[in-house]
Every structure is written in structure tokens, then in C-alpha cells.
């Protein structure tokens, strides 16, 4: 898709951790009683419904728990429209809502030592990001300074931060500030 531009295309900051925009990502919002949409989602993606606050990943796709009646499905950007249409079709008989929201949000990928990743987050969020409270595979929705955000440690050990696209500049600047090379707290 030659003309599609992610919110913060190519953004990258190298500090105590590296902050980079993930680029175009498919994101599908699923609303409905989770058990009623579980089967259609499993059929279409092979992904099981995650536990409360959880995220499951498989084959380049991921399914995240967002609320007791909301999940987000991550996939390739170019697959999202078709996948959303298929899921809408498959859940047509249920009380459910499927929306392709691939353009509404920005995702940043943070790489570095896990302690530094946690420290970067701790400068911005009131959420408890100690390893026992925020293990890999948990999605925490909270705020980063003044912006709403969701974040999780993925299977590959990277920290993913998702925010609305309108505040992508702000959140990128926040993460860069928090990842400043001279900003070590060495707490974790």
C-alpha cells in the first residue's frame, strides 16, 4: 500500500533503550461477550482468548484482553480489512462489534535490557511495573504522563507501547525523554 503512512513513520531514538515506531500494524477491535466471539476468532486466527489482562501471540498475530467485553486482534496491516470483514461475518449472529482500527493507533517497540525497559516505563506511568506485577504477556492499560496508553512485554522481550495516533509525537517524545542515556535510576 504505497500511500499508507503510519503515524510516526521511521521514528527512532537510541538511548538507554531504543524506541522505534512499529510501522503499519493491523489492529481490530472486537466487542462482545468474550466467550461468544472466542470461536469465530479461533477459527479465523487460531488464537485462544487470553486471560484477563493477558495477550497471546502466535504466527505473527496476537490477541489482547482489553476489558471484560473487548479484545484487540493484531495482524498484518494489509490483512486487517479482510480479517475484520470475515470476523464480522462470523459473528453476525452474535451481539458483537468488529471494527478495523488499524489506523487509529501508533505502536512503539522498545528494545534493551529488561530492567531498563521497566525503568523507562516507571518514569511515565503510575502502574506497577515490577516484574511480579507486570510480567511478560500482560497488557497494562494506564497512562504515560498525560496520555492514555497500553503496554506489554512481548514474547520476543521487546516492550510494546500503544497509544492513539494523534498523540504519537507526544508519546514518542515522552519515551525518548525517559530513555535518555544519562537518566539511569538503576532501581530495578
Amino acid at each position: 500500500m504505497f500511500d499508507a503512512m503510519s503515524p510516526k513513520t521511521g521514528a527512532r531514538y537510541e538511548g538507554r533503550v531504543t524506541v522505534a515506531e512499529a510501522g503499519l500494524s493491523g489492529m481490530i477491535t472486537l466487542r462482545g461477550a468474550l466467550d461468544t466471539i472466542a470461536q469465530p476468532v479461533a477459527d479465523a486466527t487460531g488464537l485462544e482468548v487470553p486471560d484477563t489482562l493477558g495477550i497471546v501471540e502466535e504466527g505473527g498475530r496476537a490477541l489482547a484482553w482489553m476489558s471484560p467485553d473487548e479484545m484487540m486482534l493484531f495482524c498484518a496491516y494489509e490483512d486487517a480489512a479482510d480479517l475484520a470483514a470475515r470476523l464480522a461475518e462470523a459473528t453476525a449472529d452474535e451481539h458483537a462489534l468488529v471494527v478495523d482500527m488499524s489506523d487509529a493507533r501508533a505502536i512503539f517497540v522498545l528494545t534493551g535490557a529488561e530492567t531498563s525497559l521497566r525503568e523507562t516505563l516507571a518514569k511515565l506511568t503510575p502502574a506497577d511495573v515490577r516484574p511480579e506485577a507486570f510480567p511478560a504477556g500482560m497488557v497494562r492499560r494506564s497512562r504515560l504522563a498525560q496520555a492514555a496508553a497500553a503496554f506489554w512485554i512481548a514474547n520476543d522481550g521487546t516492550l510494546r507501547v500503544m497509544c492513539f495516533r494523534s498523540v504519537a509525537d507526544y508519546v514518542f517524545a515522552l519515551l525518548s525523554h525517559a530513555a535518555h542515556p544519562e537518566g539511569a535510576v538503576d532501581h530495578f
Binding site: L53, M66, P68, P126, D128, R140, R141, S142, R143
Partner: protein, 101 residues
């Protein structure tokens, strides 16, 4: 700076992740209600020194509204519970009775 545990996602949320919604368990009065009922619904609020049943939304989180039973003097939280009820659950009523006893 309160911490309230969201009954939906289980997160012990910092007050800055929450949005307050005032007194809980108000009964809506619609078009055919009397002036006094409507006034009470719209404007008259309890302001207790002690147990307060109140609404909160886990706004920077799972987005769900819930209720909290909080002592306005001691900040003790007797419990949080879902918003889809018209009265507090019995265990909170009992706990508050025990507190005042």
C-alpha cells in the same frame, strides 16, 4: 491519592487512572416524575462524614464503571463492586455496620 481495585480487571488503580462519578445508586427520575423527586435525583447529594458509596470509572484502564464503598474520614475502602447493581452487596453493608458498631 487513592488506590481503588477495579472489580472488572483486578488492577489496583492509582487515582490518576480513574475518573470520579459522584454518589452511587441514584435512581433516575424521568418525564413523569414530580419536581421534588427530580430535584433530588439531579441535585441533592449525600456528603457524609463516614461511609460513602460512590461511582468511579477505570478511565485509563479497562474503561468500566464501578462502585466503591469508602470512608471519607479514614479513607478506608470497604470494597469495590460492579456498577450494574442498585444497592451495595451484603458483605459491604455488613462491613460498614461492623465499622459503626
Amino acid at each position: 491519592m487513592l488506590i481503588l481495585t477495579c472489580p472488572y480487571c483486578g488492577v489496583a488503580a492509582d487515582e490518576t487512572e480513574l475518573a470520579p462519578g459522584g454518589e452511587a445508586h441514584l435512581r433516575r427520575h424521568g418525564p413523569d416524575s414530580s419536581d421534588s423527586d427530580f430535584e433530588a435525583y439531579l441535585f441533592l447529594r449525600r456528603n457524609p462524614r463516614g461511609l460513602h458509596l460512590e461511582r468511579w470509572r477505570h478511565a485509563h484502564g479497562c474503561g468500566k464503571w464501578f462502585h466503591a464503598a469508602r470512608d471519607t474520614m479514614t479513607m478506608e475502602v470497604l470494597g469495590t463492586y460492579p456498577a450494574q447493581v442498585t444497592a451495595p452487596p451484603p458483605e459491604i453493608v455488613h462491613a460498614s455496620d461492623a465499622d459503626t458498631a
